[in-house]
């Protein structure tokens, strides 16, 4: 019961934060709303017994990714003068219509299927903790792990080549 209440509370917070994030004019405000959204998603991950991923969500998304966003906004010195008013009502209307259509498709898809995947609540002990993640990560998923390291290497090189040269 307590889980239900917490889930509803943080789901509502997440949706409100996400809506605010995509509608604010100032990108910095938007980023802070997104931090709120991601932290409430981390609470939901804890409710789903993904403890390690909840920590990673806070550390990587709220701590590193959004930090980088705010950093770049300050780096570019984006003020309202540069951002300006992007008014395009036709586009907004089209986007809204498309959104409603996609949401309706999702809803129909979920409603039509019977998603009963069995053990809700009967998870083995240690589920979702760092130890269990590590046991899978370094045995069955060791090849994707090396691919991730190559991806990160490419990210370092790409970001340095693109942004590393000294500007005048």
């Amino acid at each position: 019961m307590a889980e239900q209440i917490l889930f509803y509370l943080f789901a509502v917070i997440a949706i409100i934060s996400a809506l605010s994030a995509v509608t604010r004019k100032n990108p910095v405000v938007s980023a802070v709303w997104l931090v709120s959204c991601m932290c409430s998603l981390a609470v939901i991950y804890v409710l789903l017994e993904a403890y390690f991923l909840a920590a990673v969500q806070v550390i990587v998304y709220a701590g590193a990714v959004l930090m980088l966003f705010v950093f770049v906004i300050m780096l570019l010195n984006l003020r309202t003068g540069i951002i300006g008013q992007f008014r395009n009502l036709g586009l907004k209307f089209m986007g809204l219509v498309l959104t409603v259509i996609i949401l309706r498709q999702f809803y129909t898809a979920f409603k039509g299927t019977s998603l009963i995947l069995g053990n809700a609540g009967g998870l083995e002990p240690g589920f979702g903790e760092a130890r269990a993640v590590g046991e899978l990560l370094f045995t069955r998923y060791v090849y994707p792990l090396e691919l991730i390291s190559i991806l990160l290497l490419v990210a370092i090189v790409g970001a340095l080549v693109l942004a590393g040269k000294e500007s005048s």
Binding site: E49, F52, F71, L76, R79, A130, R131, A132, T139, E146
Partner: protein, 118 residues
Amino acid sequence: MHNFLAILLTLVITAITVGGALLLSALIGPKSKMTREKERPFECGNVPFEEPGKQFPIHFYVVAILFIVFDIEVIFLYPWISSFGTVGRYGFAGAMFFILILTFGLIYEWLRGGLEWH
């Protein structure tokens, strides 16, 4: 899950403290109208020299990239430490290879001069 009750309690106490402070100061604090003088920027009694929030040098971005990449590396190494006893040599080799490839990135940045602070 019950270990996380402490974190939830911290969240609730923080929300109450901050919200209560803001609410109380709005309710019982003295109300003052904002005047033109109060809105002006203030810098030790002088007129400010330049606009705040000017552009940072691009150099900071390179350091931020390093931070984010090695943040991810730590995220992947922490489960390895937790399950060190069970994954054995196979896991050790995987983790070492992971670190080796990311070290190439560090060496590249070093040789390129990304770590120099001019």
